[in-house]
């Protein structure tokens, strides 16, 4: 009897007042503060705008959103749960359940767009297309291979950061493009909520990757870094084909590729690595940047000396005792 009770595992309750890693609480707070549902966005205001798109533009948009739905589905049902098994703190597991659920919200959101704007038959066609498109299926397979239970915890995290911080962007480009032309602006608002969430997910998983990596001996660290760059290039190869197939008819492929390079470098930075693509091919169309972060570029480049960039903030009373932000 005593022998049995000695080896019985102790079930542990998560105590948020005893943290092993403060980043867990920081990210939990950020993710829960950012919680949203698609019902928050008045998608029906885009009905007229949708009707103004040409049939091929509508088809492209539905396909792109179906491709994004697939990635969100993978991250919701396989990716985030796979990372849970490797969590090093109970709080990390809790954060990952939030990430998994928000991916389900994202996947569900595209269906809200579809049911508001599109005909059922067109949407069914696009879902069939997503199952038959070789590039989309190939990149899903590459990621799913790394989510396999036998894969190393570090490689799972790399695949996950690449999905969150790189693979989505061939799709995110299109609603930002429409929005820069004052089209589907409510849909773009919804996509921006998704884009914001993915930034936190990529950052957090990348942070956990860095913590795990620094515990490895030098030789293994080098091997993991090689793996990361190789996987990125494999995914990039598939992304270029996918991008060409989708965007060539609109003449947007080169523009999208700059956006891909820019985001691939950011994904690598989330992992603590330097960028891979030279800056000259990461020059994202300013209209897309402005669509991504409206108003974010005002008054900050003092160094460039351009125009009215030097604006001292309006005087705000500052108390020494309590400087509350």
């Amino acid at each position: 009897m005593t022998i049995h009770s000695a080896i019985k595992p102790v079930a542990k309750a998560v105590n948020w007042n005893r943290l092993q890693d403060e980043k867990d609480l920081e990210i939990w707070n950020r993710l829960t503060a950012n919680f949203w549902l698609p019902e928050k966005v008045p998608l029906s205001n885009d009905i007229q705008s949708w009707a103004s798109l040409k049939p091929e533009e509508q088809q492209l948009t539905i396909r792109v959103f179906t491709g994004l739905t697939l990635l969100d589905t993978i991250q919701n049902t396989v990716g985030a749960p796979a990372l849970m098994a490797d969590a090093v703190t109970p709080h990390e597991e809790a954060v990952l359940t939030n990430i998994a659920f928000m991916e389900a919200v994202h996947a569900r959101s595209y269906s809200s767009v579809f049911s508001t704007l599109c005909r059922t038959a067109e949407v069914d066609d696009a879902f069939r297309w997503s199952e038959e498109n070789e590039h989309l299926q190939a990149k899903s397979r590459l990621i799913l291979e790394e989510y396999n239970a036998t894969s190393s915890p570090l490689k799972k995290k790399i695949a996950s950061v690449f999905l969150e911080s790189f693979l989505f962007y061939s799709g995110f480009y299109l609603p930002m493009h429409w929005s820069s032309r004052a089209k589907l602006t409510n849909t773009a608002d919804l996509i921006r909520l998704i884009i914001r969430d993915e930034a936190v997910h990529g950052y957090y998983i990348g942070y956990k990757f860095q913590r795990a990596l620094e515990r490895l001996p030098e030789a293994e660290r080098a091997e993991i870094k090689d793996f990361a760059f190789s996987l990125l290039l494999d995914l990039y190869g598939l992304e270029t084909h996918y991008t060409e197939e989708l965007y060539d008819p609109l003449g947007l492929t080169e523009d999208v590729k700059h956006f891909l390079h820019y985001n691939a470098n950011k994904a690598l930075q989330n992992l603590g690595f330097e960028g891979l693509f030279p800056e000259a091919i990461c020059q994202v169309n300013p209209a897309i940047m402005a669509s991504l972060s409206p108003n974010a570029d005002e008054n900050h480049d003092f160094f460039s000396g351009s125009g009215s960039s030097y604006v001292i903030g309006k005087a705000v009373a500052t108390e020494d005792e309590d400087w509350d932000f």
């Binding site: 921006r192 003092f302 705000v316």
Partner: protein, 176 residues
């Protein structure tokens, strides 16, 4: 080092494109590291994710780090400085400035020496990209000098080096 090979491969592959478009970049990228005439300092905050730390390392200028944890004694600035800080804002812009940075700036002596702020963030946060810079500039009545993403790019590094150099020279000429 397989990853270096990949990096060279990518660079070579795009070399043609680079030669066509990089004339503007080349001029800023060749600037050397520390400027000896620099009169004042840098203070920065970086959480264990290390993006800002990597940025400051690449900048190659002397800099003091605000301790990441509240349990450690707070930094005391001794000379005029520019602050480099990441952003922690949620979707409404709340919580943009890290508590340790607030603690540091709550010290009036530190605040008096603050000359400008450089903030980092992620454009995925839309209008609140690098919002810590906007908040601190407004609170402390100093300019927000620059914003960059994550650990910054090579041209961010070059611009900040050149910009700081010029900025301190201007500051010096104002104070004389």
């Amino acid at each position: 080092m397989l990853w270096l090979k990949w990096k060279r491969w990518v660079t070579d592959r795009f070399l043609l494109l680079l030669q066509e478009t990089s004339t503007g970049l080349a001029s800023v990228q060749t600037k050397s590291a520390a400027s000896p005439e620099l009169v004042s300092g840098l203070v920065y905050f970086s959480s264990p994710s290390g993006n800002t730390h990597r940025f400051v390392e690449r900048l190659g200028l002397p800099a003091e780090r605000i301790p990441p944890r509240a349990s450690e004694p707070m930094l005391k600035a001794t000379q005029p400085f520019v602050l480099i800080t990441p952003t922690y804002a949620d979707g409404e812009g709340r919580g943009a400035v890290h508590k340790q940075v607030i603690r540091f700036l709550n010290d009036a002596a530190n605040r008096t020496l603050l000359r400008g702020v450089i903030a980092s963030g992620n454009r995925n946060f839309g209008a609140f990209f690098a919002y810590a810079g906007t908040i601190i500039a407004a609170k402390c009545n100093c300019p927000c000098l620059y914003k960059f993403e994550l650990a910054g790019t090579d041209s961010d590094i070059a611009r900040v080096r050149q910009g700081l150099d010029l900025f301190w020279k201007q500051q010096l000429s104002i104070s004389q």
